[in-house]
Structures are given as C-alpha cells and as structure tokens.
C-alpha cells in the first residue's frame, strides 16, 4: 500500500462523513467498485518515532473475517475472528534485530506475540479480541514464546472498536449523573 493510499484510507477512517445527514440517492451512475477489506474497520499504524529509520513510517491494518463456512467468523463465545493484513511503508530495515508484531487488549491483560515482519514489512495476524491494539516492537530476535515485548515500540494501532467509549457526559447524556453508573 502506497503512502497516498494510506492517506486516502485514513481520510476514509477519520474523514468528514456526516452520520446524521440523510443519505441521498446518487445522481449519476457510479463505476464498478473493487471488492476489498472494509475501509471502515481499517486502522492506522502510527510511528512512535523512537526508533531510527521509523520517523516517516506509516502503516495500516485491514480487517477481513477469518475463513469460515458462515462467512461471518466467530469464536464459540461470539468474538469476531479477524484476519488483519498489516502493511507499513517507509520503514527502514533495522541494522540489528527484527520487528516483532504483538496483539493485545487495550488493558494489556492479554498479550500475544503474532510473529515477525517479513522483508516487505507486512504480515497477516488473526485476532479475536473485542477491542485490540497492534504493537510493533524492535526486538533482538523473534521469540514465539515471549510473553511481553522488551524492545522499543516502533508503531502502534488500535482497532476501530477501541473508539467506542462511554456516552456518560456526552450528547443527550451530558447532564447524566455519571457517578450513578460508577464513573
């Protein structure tokens, strides 16, 4: 994925769509679209700029459902099972060590090492967390048994579901007594 397409994708993800506005019928015929992972659920991978060669790096995680005879892939407990295609542009290969990909819950109570980036700085990982973070670190070596990263964080990203937040104090609930709900 090129920088331009990443920019375009981020514009879609965080763009100026006006969800409250009525959607009107298209006036003119549209051209045939290309079927691809849903832009809505894609999320950016943002550089921490802490690692040499990563200052201009930017990437994206694109979600599709994991293979399933139902089309919709779920765990037995009902979590979505996603396959995330991670790609990063403008990331220099490390002089020493390797880039390792981790997926974790936002609370960091579950951390899983997903694998090491290939030479193209891309890989696919599967995840079934409701909300999740993708963390890419620079490690001395890839250890599939590692429980936690030890190297510096190079890039990180958050699933779109992570943007779901409490409504207490917002919109129609701005006068609501948040303390009554444990906030």
């Amino acid at each position: 994925m090129t920088a331009a397409s990443v920019t375009a994708l981020l514009a879609v993800v965080f763009g100026s769509a006006s969800p409250g506005a009525p959607v009107r019928a298209a006036k003119a015929p549209v051209t045939c679209s290309v079927a691809e992972p849903p832009a809505y659920y894609a999320f950016p991978l943002v550089s921490t700029r802490r690692v040499p060669g990563s200052g201009r790096a930017a990437g994206v995680g694109q979600l599709t459902f994991a293979p399933s005879p139902f089309g919709l892939a779920l765990s037995a407990e009902g979590h979505y099972r996603y396959r995330i295609a991670l790609t990063v542009d403008r990331l220099a290969s490390p002089a020493v060590g390797t880039y390792v990909v981790w997926v974790t819950t936002p609370e960091l109570d579950r951390i899983e090492v997903a694998g090491a980036f290939d030479d193209r700085h891309a890989m696919e990982v599967e995840v079934d967390f409701n909300k999740f973070l993708v963390v890419i670190t620079l490690e001395d070596a890839y250890d599939p048994e590692a429980a936690m990263w030890s190297g510096p964080i190079v890039l990180r990203g958050m699933s779109r579901s992570g943007m779901m937040h409490t409504m207490a104090g917002h919109g129609p609930f701005e006068q609501e007594n948040c303390a009554a709900y444990g906030y």
Partner: protein
Amino acid sequence: MRPTATDPARRGRVSALGLLAALLLAMPGAAAAQAGMTHRAMLPGGWRMPPMDSEMPVLPGLGGAVPPVSAFLPGVGVDLSSLPEAKPSVVVEMADGDTLDIVISLVRREILGRDYAMYGYNGQYPGPLIRAEQGSTVVVRVTNEIELPSSVHWHGVRIENRFDGVPGVTQAPIETGESFTYEVRVPDAGMFWYHPHSREDVQQDLGLYGNLLVSSPDPGYFGPAHREEVLVLDDILMDDQGMIPWGGESPTHALMGRFGTVMLVNGLTDYHLDVRRGEVVRFYLTNVANTRTFNVRFPGARLKIVASDIGKFEREEWVGSVPIAPAERYVVDVRFDRSGETHILNSIQAINHFRGEFYPHVDTLGTVSVSEELAESAISQGFETLRENEDVQADIDGFRQHFARPPDYELETTLRVRNLPLSIVRLMEIDTLYVPPMEWNDAMPMMNWLSTGTQVTWILRDRATGAENGDIDWTFDVGDVVKIRIFNNPDAFHPMHHPIHVHGQRYLVLERDGVPNPNLVWKDTAVVPVGSTMDILVEMSNPGEWMIHCHIAEHLHAGMMFSFEVRGDAN
C-alpha cells in the same frame, strides 16, 4: 387498529394526517386486554416501553414518549379461554400430489406460565413440519381465520412464481375468511420454511412459521447420524406484564428490528433433548426471529457443519458454533461424547453503548441430557469423517467460469430517516464513532422501539442508476447467471447488517470483502455485515417476478425490498 399490509411493490407512506388519525383511533387499554395485564406502567395508546437494562438511562426528553403509530395486540376483546390451546408441531409426511389443509387462526399459548392470544398454523407451534421428497409437488390449501390479511411464502423453494406468496406481487392477500391453494413443487433437497409475507413483523413473531424438509432420494446424501432434530430458533419481546404491543400501521423497532427478551426453541422456553453418549444428532437449524442473529453452541459436544439453505456444502467442516442470521438454515451434526447435562446456548459479545463496552452474554436455548448408555458405535465413528461432497462440487463446476468476472450489478444498503426525536439523532451522531459489523443485542431498546417505518426508510440502492427499492428495474432471462455485489455502506445514520434474501432462485456467496469463499453452498439468504462487500452469483433458473429484500422483518416493512423479473419458460 390492526396492522396494515405494505404492498411490497408499491409501498406508500403514512401521511401525517393518517398518523394523527391513527393516534386518535388508538385503543387505550388494548395492551391491557392481554390476560392479567395491569395499567401500572401504561403509556398513552396502550403502549408499554420494552424492558431496558437498568444501566441504560432513559433518553432525556423522551420520558413518556410512544411510537407514532397505534399499538396492536392480537385477539383484543376475545376471551382467552375460548381459544384452542396451541399444540406442538406435528410431522406431516407428504407424497407427490398429496394435499394438506392449513388454517391460520388465533390460539391460546402459554409462555412462562401465562396465556396469550397468538397465531398458529393448524393450531401448532411451529406450524406442521412438512416432509416431502425432492422433485415432488405437494398441495397446501390455506384458509385465513385471523383478523389480518395473510399469505404463505415458501422460503427458499424454487417454486412456480404464482405460488410464491407475496401479496402485491404474486397474489392478492388472503383476506379474513378466504383461502388460497399453493402447489409447492420442491426441486431441491434442503430445509426450507414457510411464513407470511404480509406484516411478518407481527404475524411471524406471533407464531406463523413452519419448516418444509425436502429429502434427497439418495440414501447416502448425508453421512450417518443416529437421529434428526429440528430446532426452530426464535425470540419474543415481553416484560413482566406480557407481550409488548406491535405497531399498527407500521412496525416499531424500525432501526434495529424487534429483538425479543424471551428465547424460544420450537416455540418452547424449556426445550429438552435426551441422548445417549456418543450419539450423533443431526440438527436442522432455522432462524425465524424478526432480527436476532444467534451464535449457537453445544458446549462439550463436537460440531460438524454439513449443509445450509439449499443443500450441502462442498465439504464438511468442524466448527465451534453456528452463527445463523434471520431466515438462514444450517444443518449441523453434533456428537455428544460426555454424559451428564449440557446446554444449547446462544453465546454473543453484546454491547453496552452507554458504557462503550462489549460484554459476554449467554442465553440458554435448551438442555440436553446425555445418558451413560452408549450409542451404536459405527455411526459414532463415522462422524469422524469429513466428507467431500463431489455431487455438490460437480453441480457448482458449471458456474465457476463466472466467478472471476466483474459484477453485473451493484447494490448498496443504507437508510434515510425523518422526524426522529432529537435525542435519538444526537445519540446516533456520537454513537457512530464505532458501529459493530453485527447487532447481536438491542443495546438501545427505547430508541429502537420509538423508531417506526413511518420515520425510517431502509434502502437497497442500485449503484449504477441510483434507483432505490421499488424503483429498481432489473430484468433477466431464464438461464442467465448474474453476479451481484452488495455493499453495506457504513457511512449512514445507523448502519446495520442485513440478511439478504432472494426469492425463487438460488445463489452462491463467491466472495466477502474480496476474499474468495473456499467452501461453497447454495443459499437463498446470507448476511452482509456493516462495511462489508458480498459478491453473490445468482442462477436465474425460475421465471416470474421475484423479490429481493432484507429479512429483518422491520427493515423489510421500512422499504428495503424490490422485485426483479426473469423472462422465459421454466426448464
């Protein structure tokens, strides 16, 4: 005020004057006519608000608000004790040419210890389980004795068009006291079902559904199983005073559909099955709920997915659960290896919008008691084999030449709203920071309840022409193989998933979001999650005028449908 049917081909809008009249004519106390109900929490017009999670505050400014349509409950004024008690479904084996009489009538049904006036096909819940041989034709003579016009749609059957059961398209509605005779030819093996196509948000919810199980003449069509069980999955919306009324002129719950609070399997709240250890049970699952998608689990048992709407998968697969959207069917073989009591569960990750959190939610759909006695071992061992279905693969081979070509048509799903209360609009605006691919629970019951088909228009839009719903004009010839891309636009006021049903034809789901489907099966209904793109390949094999629509009942009656024509003669 009785529910009014919406002509699917020429859907009109309820005028403001009509709404006012409806409100004036609404019958206070109609809801209270249900047995034992009190006026304790009564709202204007006989309404009661659906139960809400105690953590979810009432929307500011909406205390005492009711939907802008009249409240409807069946059998108002009828002495419940005068109604026949509903009975469990009866199996009806039908040979080629046999005739079955079905009467649609009011019945008295007990749910959680209370009696209600509901509907039944031949007084049964579900309706009779009709079994027929592939290739046969059975005749079903339907008489309508309820207060609403009705019809019977034979869901998934590539039936002769005039018997498809769609008022305004293939037949006139069956008015109260009238009859209609359906000749149901069944060219495909599979688990089909029948239901009204006239205000099914009301009639189907009140019990009008049944299965049609069509068996292949090939005795080896499926692998071995000790027995077969039919599970019809449903839910119904109730509180401690009884059923929440339905919308009279138009459905309530138009945004998300009417989620129930009580789970029903084969119409029961306490479904139970006794099996032996090692027994392989072939479950035929049908989701007849208005809007709920289930994720069905059998903890402690092993599951093998075998078939779906119209026949077998290309190959069997082990699965951990069965996600099943409204109107879909799945056939799953389950082996119970551990003795003791286990449950059939609906396991989901629900959303608490107020807190902005997912949380695990489990409904117990039924119980299974597994005895120590061992089932016959040859069948148990045969379960270990995952079959490649070469007959299915050979059938699909004739269509693979079409898989890679661009789509012939593109549909987009979205919605338009008007006159919704401001609180709801504001809530939606902040809620769209994240819209889940699927709505597994009614996370905002009040907002959902207050939205009606008079305020919400769900839309299928032809992306090439911009035409919407009934204005879409598609014509095909028998023998055409048509690739349709369906995109569920997330940039809408309140996007939601849609189970898309095509009448009278069969289709393959080729791709989702650009990822090819590695295990095909013929479908008539498949779900498109929010933001997703689904490519389907439709075999136009059956002439006539046919519907495409969302099978969330409230979305259907909020406009999400159109008809297309297939010209030519039947093969």
